[in-house]
């Protein structure tokens, strides 16, 4: 029994579909009728969710080496905060 067989991941087509829908939604929100700050904030948060999906499902770090998982989660948190600061402090 492969150790990989014990891993449970979402099917790749499902992950892809979620990522595509999220991308279309973020573009629509950013250019839509929502207040600019709210639209941009939503777009950044959606981008963060997309990256988390890629790290967890495509890179398969979700069940992986703990320090690596923490490093990537920390990077995502810092980058998200930097981008949000660009909206709310500009």
């Amino acid at each position: 029994m492969s150790v990989f067989a014990k891993r449970s991941f979402l099917p790749v087509p499902l992950v892809w579909a979620l990522l595509v829908i999220a991308s279309l939604a973020s573009a629509a929100l950013a250019e839509g009728n929502a207040a600019p700050h709210l639209g941009a904030t939503a777009a950044i948060l959606i981008a963060a969710v997309k990256i988390d999906l890629i790290i967890g499902q495509y890179m398969e770090v979700r069940v992986s080496h703990r320090p690596l998982r923490l490093l990537l989660a920390g990077w995502l948190a810092v980058v998200t905060l930097i981008l949000l600061a660009g909206i709310w402090f500009a």
């Binding site: 990989f4 973020s26 950013a30 207040a35 600019p36 941009a40 777009a43 790290i55 770090v61």
Partner: protein, 201 residues
């Protein structure tokens, strides 16, 4: 041998249990940190001069940014499937998925070239203003990573069915190369949000 399942973890690095190779992950993390500094510099500039950044942002074509995002997401999906097939010892199928990764990823380069040409045709360049300096430098560096990723994919195509290499070695290479390709993808997601979607009031 070539069709037998990879029955063990791909990783042989002591103390590292993640997918791929610890050395490649070190490079990926370092690269991502460098890009985080880029993002910080850009945002600092945006906070200092929001009008300039918003006016410049409106000169970008959202359709290119979105198309490039969808291209990389699709290419990344094939790469993820290639790694999963390799984990099951389906080397030929893994190779086919990597060919699909390459084919679906190539339009990113074409789209980027068309977008940059359109910008240059409109008189926009590195020296137009601070926003466009960052735009061309960051997307240019990202494009360089994309080109390197294409080279990695070509090497992986040969590795996937190389019977002279152990299954664990092949799997480690495919997972490491895949992680790099996904890094190119996720960095673009941040660039897309930061350059195209940060609408100001």
């Amino acid at each position: 041998m070539s069709t037998s399942p990879a029955n063990t973890s791909s990783n042989t690095s002591p103390g590292f249990s993640g997918p791929g190779d610890s050395g490649v992950w070190f490079f990926i993390i370092a690269d991502m940190c460098a890009f985080a500094v880029f993002f910080l510099v850009f945002i600092a500039g945006r906070i200092a001069n929001p009008e300039l950044y918003e006016t410049s942002r409106q000169m970008l074509d959202l359709r290119f940014g979105l198309a490039n995002t969808l291209i990389l997401l699709t290419s990344g999906a094939f790469m993820a499937q290639a790694a999963r097939d390799a984990q099951r010892g389906l080397w030929l199928k893994s190779r086919q998925m990597m060919i699909a990764t390459l084919i679906t990823g190539l339009p990113f380069g074409v789209s980027k070239a068309i977008e940059w040409k359109a910008k240059f045709d409109h008189g926009l360049s590195l020296t137009t203003n601070e926003f466009f300096t960052y735009y061309f430098v960051f997307t240019g560096i990202h494009f360089l990573h994309f080109i390197i990723g294409l080279g990695v994919l070509v090497v992986l195509l040969q590795t996937a069915t190389d019977k002279h290499k152990a299954a664990t070695t092949r799997l480690r290479w495919i997972e490491a190369g895949g992680a790099y390709w996904h890094m190119v993808d996720l960095l673009w997601i941040v660039l897309f949000a930061m350059l195209y979607l940060l609408r100001a009031a």
